[in-house]
């Protein structure tokens, strides 16, 4: 039990007051010398047991009454959150909300989702506790947002559910930065989460930093975790795994592959009506689901032959978690690949352009633009599949632009500059030219995958016939795709999370290599890089919620999905968004469907050394975590006073005797 006004506990010694009065009263009893002690002792002996109990009861009732008054004044709180308000007033209350889709699972009561229950419980708790500065750390931006009142948590968009994962280590780090800036001693951090492993990343090294940072804060910062670890074994979820547009016998069709997953592997066989919605037209297909995973392969949905693109939705009947009961997708005809060539030497740039422009398909051409480095900002990067860069590694703004492009899935191939000036980017560095007097040959190359892989027919590319006269020394962490004799790299790939970054240590200039004259390898290399980068080029795309968009979201409009989402948070909300003729389907990530939670001991380890309290909430009720229970003590006090009064009443027989 904790108290809102613990200072009143100083009045607890008043509990001794009835005892003191009792003792003083005993002293104040009139003393009477008595001779007939024989009778008195006999009478007293007969009544001693009951009378003593009665006296003690009266004394106990008085003590309880005084205790009740004191405790009522302290405004006691009842909760499992021991110490929630033990120190009384706090300066800052930081709220970290796990807004991930898994928090939308309904609780046992079925009325509220975990997210709603968490917010309501938190608001009601904060209403009970003494007022303090209430700050919500935004999941999207990571910025602290001060709330005028705790009730604002129920209305502001920054406290609405998202379709993206939460990143608890980042939220904790943001909370730390805020508290560090505030420099207040007494802080409460309230975390509401369902402990999904993907949201907590318990193996991340960032937790060590978080722990160390919080340990540096002045003592008085308490971390409260309101955990909702329960899972609904009957929960089912749907996901579209593949969308393709085909023409068969003059009929344009969508081929949809989808997966229905259930939490329980032992779930009984069940017919699940899969609802497909394509451009507003709905069809339903009953799928017999057995076990944990049911796959639907290439389900055909006819569409208008004139329709070049569109969006759709696959849904299953709503269960306890509606956030994973639908999945959006988009489709479109593939658009011509678009490559940008940025070369300092036009003699090199031209063969690059030519090699990128001519497509293997007949009557098909790629769009290739030759641009100067300073014109990079004007390029519509969301349409570009490949950037071919010849020259020193880009720096500054240009590098940032290219980095964003790569992060968005684009491909980049770097060719060396003509100068010997060292330059570095993406962990690679040009270190000056070397000449191979007799012409170097490619000693080894990767033929199983990537740019130099064998053809579909299984034939190897003629990489070994290439002659390299000059090459620029290349260092840095990378994966070699082709190596010259003398262990010099010819073609490397930089490991990246998304997109592809390649570097070729020579140019197609005839003085440098036979890349242009023996053009097969060079052509295939560029076309494969362009194909890889162009996968993101399709005007319709599926992206995971939370993935940053390349262009500003202000130019996008919502076509379908959650109407509550604000434009700045579109990338975090399930739905279909469009700009121009491009469409993007945003859905929860694959990892979000992972139901594994952080283990208890692992969680305890994350907060080891910190003032941390955890409460598991399963009911799904919106009751406050802490409740004022002074009424109970008031009632106890009144009852004790009443009992005391009854015990103090003279006995009826005595009254009769007096009356007589």
């Amino acid at each position: 039990m904790s108290f809102l006004y613990p200072l009143f506990l100083a009045a607890l010694p008043l509990i001794a007051l009835p005892i003191v009065i009792h003792l003083v009263n005993q002293r104040r009893y009139q003393t009477m010398p008595w001779g007939a002690m024989l009778f008195l002792l006999a009478a007293n002996r007969l009544s001693r047991g009951l009378a003593r109990i009665r006296r003690w009861l009266i004394l106990a009732m008085r003590v309880i009454a005084v205790t009740g008054i004191v405790i009522v004044l302290t405004r006691p709180l009842s909760s499992g959150w021991l110490g929630a308000a033990a120190g009384g007033r706090v300066d800052n209350t930081i709220i970290l909300l796990d807004r991930s889709p898994s928090m939308l699972q309904r609780g046992i009561s079925g009325d509220l989702t975990k997210f709603e229950a968490a917010k309501l419980q938190l608001v009601r708790t904060l209403q009970v506790l003494p007022k303090s500065r209430c700050v919500l750390v935004d999941n999207v931006s990571g910025n602290p947002l001060e709330l005028a009142e705790p009730e604002d948590l129920l209305t502001i968009p920054s406290a609405s559910p998202l379709s993206s994962q939460a990143d608890l280590p980042t939220l904790m780090a943001s909370a730390y930065q805020y508290l560090k800036a505030q420099q207040n001693a007494r802080n409460d951090i309230w975390i509401c989460s369902d402990l999904r492993r993907q949201d907590w990343s318990p193996d991340s090294g960032r937790w060590t930093a978080v722990r160390e940072q919080f340990a540096q804060l002045p003592p008085g910062t308490r971390i409260h975790l309101l955990a909702f670890p329960s899972q609904d074994p009957s929960d089912a979820r749907v996901r579209v795994t593949k969308v393709a547009q085909t023409d068969e016998d003059g009929q344009t069709q969508l081929l949809l592959s989808a997966v229905v997953e259930r939490n329980s592997a032992t779930a009984p066989v069940q017919k699940i009506p899969l609802q497909f919605e394509v451009n507003g037209a709905r069809t339903t297909l009953d799928v017999e689901s057995a076990g944990a995973r049911t796959e639907l392969q290439s389900h055909k949905i006819p569409i208008e032959s004139t329709q070049r693109n569109g969006w759709g939705r696959v849904a299953i009947p709503h269960d306890n978690n509606v956030a994973n009961d639908e999945y959006y997708f988009t489709f479109s005809e593939p658009s011509p690949p678009y490559a940008v060539v940025c070369a300092e030497d036009s003699a090199v740039g031209e063969p690059l352009r030519l090699a990128a422009e001519i497509r293997p398909e007949t009557n098909s051409k790629s769009r290739v633009d030759l641009v100067a480095p300073e014109a990079l900002a004007s390029i519509a990067w969301e349409q570009v599949g490949l950037l071919i860069w010849q020259g020193s590694f880009p720096q500054g703004k240009a590098l940032e632009t290219i980095q964003l492009f790569v992060d968005d899935g684009g491909s980049v191939i770097f060719f060396p500059p003509h100068s010997d000036t060292p330059s570095a980017a993406f962990g690679l560095e040009w270190q000056g030219w070397q000449t191979a007097p007799k012409g170097a040959v490619v000693e080894t190359w990767r033929s199983d995958a990537d740019l130099l892989a064998r053809t579909q027919s299984g034939a190897a590319l003629p990489v070994g016939t290439l002659r390299i006269d000059r090459f620029c020394q290349l260092t840095g962490e990378s994966t070699e795709l082709a190596r010259l004799s003398g262990a010099k790299p010819l073609l490397v790939r930089v490991p990246t999370a998304k997109g592809a970054v390649y570097a070729c240590s020579t140019t197609p200039d005839p003085q440098d290599s036979s890349l242009a004259s023996d053009g097969v390898v060079f052509y295939v290399m560029l076309q494969r890089a362009l194909d890889e980068g162009s996968r993101r080029l399709a005007s319709a795309r599926q992206i995971d919620a939370g993935t940053p968009w390349p262009a500003s979201t202000q130019t996008w409009r919502r076509l379908a999905g959650e109407s509550a989402a604000i434009s700045t948070e579109y990338p975090h909300h399930t739905g279909v968004y469009g700009t121009g003729d491009r469409m993007v389907a945003v859905n929860r990530s694959q990892r979000e469907d992972d139901t594994e939670t952080v283990k208890d001991e692992q969680l305890a380890g994350l907060f080891r050394g910190l003032d941390f309290v955890r409460v598991d909430e399963r009911s799904g009720q919106a009751t406050s975590l802490v409740q004022e229970i002074w009424r109970i003590f008031l009632v106890a006090m009144l009852v004790s006073l009443f009992v005391e009064a009854v015990l103090c009443l003279p006995r009826l027989s005595s009254l009769r005797g007096t009356a007589a």
């Binding site: 005993q26 009893y29 009139q30 003393t31 009477m32 010398p33 008595w34 001779g35 007939a36 002690m37 024989l38 009778f39 008195l40 002792l41 006999a42 009478a43 007293n44 007969l46 009544s47 009378a51 003279p650 006995r651 027989s653 005595s654 005797g657 007096t658």
Partner: protein, 299 residues
């Protein structure tokens, strides 16, 4: 505790004169050496015929009833009652409980007044009077004497009395029963706050010695009614531990305990052949004594 402040001057001549009109008589035969107004266990020469007895050689021929011989031709001797003096032993309980003082005064003062008056009456009619004061033992004892000067000694004893200590009446009465060699009238004045079963032995002992035993139990009305209105700390006058009690709460049980005790005490005296008088202090001592004397004379 201080003395009871009783002095012989508190004896009221008017009361003494009134009580003197009724002689103090014994209910039993006395064995005195002197002639008096009490019947002796021996046959004597008083005017009161007792019985006829067959003549045996050696009997005084002057006592032979010749008229009876003329009628029956047998020799009978005529016997008469003998009168003798009384030996009176007054036993006063001087334990602490006798110091209880109600609105009618203390029990010890009442007892002193009674003992003083009885002593005066006995001496005045020529009987021997002694006194024994009992508390935690035999505090003071004066053997019975009929000398008028002895009255002064008794009064001195009474004036020096100080009620204190616990009641050890039982051993004292046993001791008296052993020490009194001749039949006597034993008057015990006490509150008898002793277990009646313990008292039975000593009174039966006195009766076994053929003493004429009378017990006066003194009780203050407050001790009987126990009509106190608020919790009190009762201080034991005999030195025991103080007791906190709420009289209202325990009144019923107090009365029950008192009545039970009184019944058992009365039964015990009845069975032991002891004349028992329960006196409340709101009754004047002269009334109580007059009733006692008259009652004796009427038997």
């Amino acid at each position: 505790m201080a003395t009871s402040n009783w002095t012989r001057t508190q004896l009221e001549p008017a009361v003494l004169a009134r009580l003197s009109a009724v002689p103090l008589v014994s209910r039993r035969l006395m064995l005195g050496h002197l002639s008096g107004r009490h019947r002796s266990a021996h046959r004597g020469s008083s005017v009161e015929f007792a019985e006829y007895r067959r003549y045996v050689p050696g009997d005084d021929l002057r006592r032979v009833d010749w008229r009876a011989f003329g009628r029956t031709e047998r020799y009978y001797v005529k016997e008469f009652e003998a009168d003798t003096n009384l030996r009176c032993c007054l036993v006063l309980d001087t334990s602490g409980s006798m110091g209880f003082r109600g609105k009618h005064g203390s029990k010890i003062q009442y007892a002193q007044q009674m003992i003083g008056t009885l002593s005066y009456l006995a001496i005045q009619q020529g009987d021997a009077v002694g006194i024994a004061c009992a508390a935690e033992g035999l505090v003071t004892q004066l053997p019975p004497r009929r000398n008028p000067a002895h009255l002064s000694s008794i009064f001195e004893v009474l004036e020096r009395l100080e009620p204190k200590g616990s009641t050890q009446l039982v051993p004292v009465l046993h001791e008296l029963a052993d020490s009194l060699r001749q039949r006597a009238m034993v008057v015990v004045v006490s509150d008898f706050f002793v277990d009646s079963s313990e008292l039975r032995g000593c009174f039966e002992h006195l009766r076994f010695k053929k003493h004429d035993v009378t017990a006066f139990q003194l009780l203050d009305p407050m001790e009987i009614e126990f009509d106190l209105k608020r919790p009190m700390r009762f201080l034991d006058l005999e030195g025991g531990a103080a007791v906190f009690a709420d009289p209202i709460e325990i009144a019923d049980r107090y009365h029950l305990a008192r009545e039970t005790f009184q019944r058992s005490l009365q039964q015990m005296f009845l069975e032991a052949g002891v004349e028992y008088h329960c006196l409340q202090l709101d009754e004047t001592y002269d009334q109580a004594l007059m009733r006692f004397l008259v009652d004796r004379n009427q038997r």
